[in-house]
């Protein structure tokens, strides 16, 4: 099970933070700090898995963004990496060549897409098409509501 998903820029700024288990505000700040410290200092050709307290930290860098995921010890690291990639692909499809700025200015959309990919720390939909469909459908509804 995934405990948290963090998107961190190369400058150490949080672009997205999603917590699937109970973290108090203090713990959240602390974890973000630790993850940032651990991930940003690592060289490019190193292994993407880190021991992180009771959890495993799995991270992957896409362009200027680090996607960091904290998972249970039993979890499959490779599968987690694939989950991250799955999420990135969906973002890419939705924004059409996604970049960091897209996520900054549309942070709520990023959250919404993430909620469609993961729920309660589990992958809920493996079909990129299905997710894209749902997200666009919802966009349309919101647009209607706004105008109407």
């Amino acid at each position: 099970m995934i405990h948290f998903v963090l998107l961190i820029s190369r400058q150490g700024k949080v672009r997205l933070a999603k917590w699937y288990t109970q973290y108090t505000v203090k713990e959240r700040t602390k974890t973000i700090k630790q993850v940032t410290g651990a991930v940003l200092s690592r060289g490019p050709k190193l292994c993407n898995f880190l021991e992180f307290g009771e959890t495993k930290l799995i991270y992957k860098r896409y362009a200027s963004l680090y996607f960091c995921v904290g998972v249970d010890q039993e979890d499959n690291e490779l599968a987690t990496l694939e989950t991250v990639h799955h999420f990135v692909e969906i973002l890419d499809r939705y924004f059409g060549n996604v970049c960091e700025l897209d996520l900054i200015f549309n942070f709520h959309k990023a959250y919404y897409i993430l909620d469609e990919v993961l729920l309660g720390g589990h992958l809920q939909e493996t079909s990129k098409r299905a997710i894209h469909h749902v997200v666009t459908e919802q966009d349309a509804l919101v647009e209607n509501a706004k105008n109407g």
């Binding site: 292994c47 362009a63 490779l78 990496l81 990135v88 493996t126």
Partner: protein, 1009 residues
């Protein structure tokens, strides 16, 4: 994966001017919202989300100020009645929350926005709730109804929002209130909601476990759902449940098995395989069933994640099936040789798991694993190292260690330390279990000591001493290996690389000092050791160095055993007559050189602020000064004097470490010592306990040759008999003339009866001193007292009346009292022929023909232990009466006879004898406190003076009456006086000893065998 990644990356690298194009949806219209609905609102100029994001990005240095300003605005905006303004403010706040700004204060406003009908507003509210609500949030009580309403909504997305939100913020209360609503959603016609409901149910189970039982049946039914995504969700939930408690879900195994065979979705297959991985250890039959599908998946799947999951399952619960394990090991090799560090790491880790059951399969990939040690990635290196450590056997130990040592050169500091630790652990683990060649290991240790930046110097030092002390044949090599360490001044520099080398150097110094006979270039080593850089090291290192220098100095002058010529090439000054034997050659040059070196370099250490260092340095300096003085006193012929002094000095360090037997190694040595100490302290008082720190190890007592160990055995047996007597507190059977031998016996007894466990020599020295003291007290000729048990009695009988006070002064021992049950007076057996004075006296008596057999009876070994006091008294009385009667009969001849008997003994002599007898008694009073004894003596003297006066008065008339007795004095009177016992007792003051002595002699005579 790779091509897609590239594409994504390219996309992410897009120029920032694309932003305006990209922004869409609600945000875009945020400003518009206000413009639309807020014509009359205060917040016409409300900043949109885009504005504040841009503002923060442009503010740069004043970001905090800008954020505070925005937060202030948000606080105002969020209180407005206009829902849109409120929603936008909340959204901005959510954004700022990502950077750590609290939004707990806006919880109520969040609920307000959540309850809006408009989907766009509701969305913003739910997002804020998901991000900010915690268990402790107070407004939680307000939302169950809201969520209930939304869960029952006809708009799919509203239900979706509610489910998402619930999954994030669920509390036990919320779970209890809403689980039925979520449960009913399992029947929804939309797969979108069914899969979400399934996952939310799991969250509800976690927070409200009572809900699991009723919902479980319906949940498992969903495994046969039409939609893959729903099945996948159910499998994910069940997987989590299985991980927590696999036993409860074993009945579901057939269903999972069916799914595994039909599944086409890799994500789900991974979960299924994981489920089986947890179930297999519990159900062995399952493993057999799984062999076929798992093998098939492993050999066909292109997905590494699935393959890895299968391997994990194999290592978890299918290790008893060889075919699958072999396949797994093969696949793992592909992982390790892979360029991708992730796969490498996972491969190594899986191999570690496989190692305990299939070491051979793992060992096949040894080369690849060794190659991983040189990876740049610390995680991989560590895992590989772990694996290497696990693979070590007796046979490949040297090979492996060589690999590890070679890897150290390329590794960075962190991993280098790990490598050092692993070598020490592998070789030294379990008492050098795997090690076969210790000579080789000493060289390795010397190498490890030099590893820059190593933090394991302490362990290296410990093992060095441990091995050198235990493996006797190794010492020469050890000294040779240690020499370069001591000669290398760079190791003493104050550099971070040398952080722990001091502890290894300390061990090296100890080894060189202790086994100095193997050192070939003592002066060179000493010069290298006494350098100013030594100050950089810890005080304990300096102490060891000084001690080593002292030992080297003690060895100076004699040639090293295997160095036929002086290595320094100095002039040998062989002494006349000794030049033939190379070992005996005394090299005065070497001594001079050493002394010069010490005098030059030591003052720095003498001024050290560490007391121990300065003290040891001063000690050494004093020794050197003394040697110099000795040499100066004989300016013409300094060699013989100096040589004698050096020999004395060498005696200080002659004792060596004693190698402990292999059996003893199983026992923690320290513990044995403690035990041993306690044993000894019974006898020898307070021997402080000291563990095996290096210092005590440095002074271990050692007798080491085989010859000696044989002797020890013999002596131990001897000592055993002695030990019994020792327990009687008076244990000195062999007489005072050989205290050293006895001591040896004792010491060796200590060694002998316990598998030759070495005793710290300080302990033995202490013991030695103590024993020697005891011996002096008991057996010293200077102390003129030795008392027999029965003598006590007699003395008391005769002197009780007057001398009582004196005896009371003897440490409260009242001899006149009958003995208690556990009281023990010394038996004469314990002191056979003990007192030299007694012996002298006896010979004296014999020479003068004074009833030799009777004397024997008085001073001999035989005592009447069995005789009670009353009996003895009665006997004495009887005998005295008999004697008196006899004397009366032979009245005429007796005086002359007695006169003859005592002819040679003058009055002064007799007095001396009496005094000595009394003192013996006092000594036997068992206090054996000399002071008390002294006091007693004084008292007696005074008494005697008094008696003398009295006697002088009495003697005059007596002399006139008894002419025959005139010559002899006291003796002559006896026959007359013995007529009446009372009279005798009354007049006894004058000559108590003589009277007492006589009857005793006569009574003892017949008892002699």
């Amino acid at each position: 994966m790779a091509p897609q990644e590239d594409m994504v990356s390219k996309g992410l690298r897009k120029a920032s001017n694309a932003v305006s194009k990209m922004a869409g949806g609600m945000l875009d219209s945020a400003g518009g919202l206000v413009a639309d609905g807020g014509g009359k609102d205060v917040f016409v100029m409300q900043k949109s989300l885009r504005d504040i994001i841009k503002g923060i990005r442009t503010a740069k240095d004043e970001e905090n100020a800008y954020t505070n300003e925005v937060l202030y605005e948000i606080q105002k905006e969020i209180r407005t009645n206009d829902p849109r303004t409120k929603a936008i403010a909340l959204q901005k706040l959510t954004y700022l929350n990502m950077f750590g700004h609290s939004m707990g204060w806006a919880a109520f406003h969040t609920v307000e926005v959540m309850s809006q009908d408009r989907l766009s507003l509701k969305h913003a509210g739910y997002l804020a709730a998901k991000q900010s609500f915690q268990d402790s949030t107070e407004v939680m009580v307000l939302i169950p109804n809201l969520l209930k309403k939304d869960l029952a909504s006809s708009v799919v997305f509203e239900v979706g929002f509610a489910l998402d939100c619930l999954a994030n913020i669920i509390t036990p209360d919320l779970a209890r209130d809403l689980v039925s609503d979520v449960f009913s959603l399992l029947n929804s016609s939309r797969a979108y909601l069914r899969k979400k409901a399934v996952l939310v149910l799991y969250k509800a189970f976690l927070r409200y476990p009572e809900s699991l039982r009723p919902a479980f049946g319906r949940l498992t039914e969903k495994l046969e759902d039409d939609e893959t995504s729903v099945i996948s969700s159910v499998v994910a939930v069940l997987c989590e449940l299985v991980i927590h408690n696999p036993k409860n879900y074993l009945p579901l195994a057939p269903t999972f098995y069916k799914l595994l065979q039909t599944s086409t979705n890799n994500w789900m297959t991974i979960k299924l395989v994981k489920i089986f991985g947890h179930m297999c250890p519990l159900e062995p039959r399952l493993a057999k069933k799984l062999v076929e599908p798992i093998t098939q998946i492993m050999s066909t799947t292109p997905a590494k994640s699935l393959l890895y999951e299968c391997i994990c399952t194999v290592t978890n619960g299918m290790t008893h099936i060889n075919a699958v394990c072999k396949l797994a090991a093969e696949k793992l090799k592909d992982f390790i040789v892979e360029f991708d560090p992730n796969l490498k790491f996972l491969g190594l880790r899986a191999l570690t798991k496989l190692l305990p059951t299939h070491p051979k399969a793992v060992a096949d990939h040894k080369e690849t694993i060794f190659a991983c040690l040189q990876e740049g990635d610390y995680t991989i290196q560590q895992t590989a190292l772990q694996l290497v450590q696990g693979m070590v056997t007796k046979r490949n130990l040297m090979d492996t260690v060589t690999h590890l040592v070679l890897s150290m050169r390329k590794a960075d500091v962190l991993f280098r330390n790990d490598l050092v630790a692993s070598v020490l652990q592998v070789c030294g683990g379990n008492r050098y279990e795997l090690l076969t060649d210790f000579t080789w290991y000493i060289v390795v240790l010397a190498e490890l000591a030099r590893v820059p930046g190593s933090t394991h110097g302490k362990e290296v030092g410990f093992q060095l001493i441990d091995i050198t002390a235990r493996v006797e044949v190794l010492r020469e090599e050890a000294v040779q290996a240690m020499k370069p360490l001591l000669l290398d001044k760079a190791l003493l520099e104050d550099k971070p690389e040398n952080c722990s080398v001091g502890h290894a150097l300390k061990a090296a110094a100890y080894i060189v000092g202790e086994y100095r006979s193997f050192v070939t270039s003592r002066v060179e080593i000493m010069r290298a050791m006494l350098v100013p850089q030594l100050k950089n090291q810890e005080s304990v290192v300096q102490e060891h160095y000084i001690q080593c220098v002292m030992k080297l100095l003690a060895a100076a002058g004699t040639l090293p055993i295997d160095a036929p010529s002086a290595p320094e090439g100095e002039d040998q000054e062989p002494e006349a007559g000794k030049s033939q034997a190379p070992i005996a050659v005394f090299q005065i040059e070497e001594v001079w050189q050493m002394m010069v070196t010490i005098t030059e370099q030591l003052p720095v250490l003498m001024r050290s602020r560490h007391v121990e260092v300065s003290e040891r340095a001063c000690q050494l300096m004093v020794v050197v000064n003394m040697l110099t003085m000795v040499a100066e006193q004989e300016p013409d012929e300094p060699i013989p004097v100096l040589k004698a002094c050096m020999e004395q000095l060498a005696v200080l360090f002659t004792e060596e470490l004693f190698p402990v037997s292999s059996k003893a190694q199983k026992v923690p040595v320290r513990r044995v010592w403690t035990y041993r100490h306690r044993d000894l302290s019974d006898q020898d008082g307070d021997l402080a306990d000291d563990g095996i720190n290096k210092d005590s190890a440095a002074t271990l007592l050692g007798t080491k040759s085989k010859k000696q160990s044989r002797r020890i055995e013999k002596e131990a047996r001897q000592a055993y008999t002695g030990h019994k007597e020792k327990m009687k507190e008076y244990y000195l059977a062999d007489g005072p003339e050989k205290p050293k031998d006895q001591l040896d016996n004792l010491l060796n007894a200590a060694k002998g009866d316990k598998e030759a466990i070495p005793l710290p020599s300080w302990a033995t020295t202490k013991k030695e001193n103590k024993l020697a003291k005891d011996i002096v007290m008991k057996g010293d000729a200077g102390f003129d007292g030795q008392v027999d048990g029965n003598e006590d009695e007699d003395v008391k009988e005769a002197t009780a009346t007057k001398d009582e006070l004196a005896y009371k002064a003897l440490g409260g021992v009242d001899i006149s009292k009958p003995l208690e049950e556990d009281d023990m007076l010394p038996t004469t057996m314990a002191y056979p022929q003990y007192d030299p004075i007694l012996a002298r006296e006896r010979t004296f008596m014999k020479q003068h023909g004074h009833h030799p057999d009777v004397q024997l009876g008085q001073y001999g070994e035989v005592i009447k232990d069995t005789e009670t006091r009353e009996e003895r008294k009665a006997r004495h009385r009887r005998e005295r009466a008999a004697k008196a009667a006899k004397a009366e009969e032979e009245a005429a001849p007796t005086p002359s006879a007695s006169g003859i008997k005592r002819e040679g003994e003058t009055r002064e002599e007799r007095k001396a004898r009496h005094r000595s007898q009394r003192e013996e008694q006092a000594a036997a009073g068992l206090g054996v406190d000399l002071k008390v004894l002294e006091a007693a003596k004084k008292l007696m003297k005074e008494e005697k003076k008094a008696k003398k006066k009295q006697k002088a008065k009495e003697e005059k008339p007596k002399k006139q009456k008894d002419v025959a007795a005139e010559a002899e004095g006291d003796e002559g009177k006896k026959p007359k006086k013995t007529k009446a016992k009372k009279a005798l007792a009354e007049s006894a003051d004058a000559e108590p000893k003589a009277k007492k002595g006589k009857p005793k002699k006569s009574k003892k005579g017949p008892e002699e065998p």
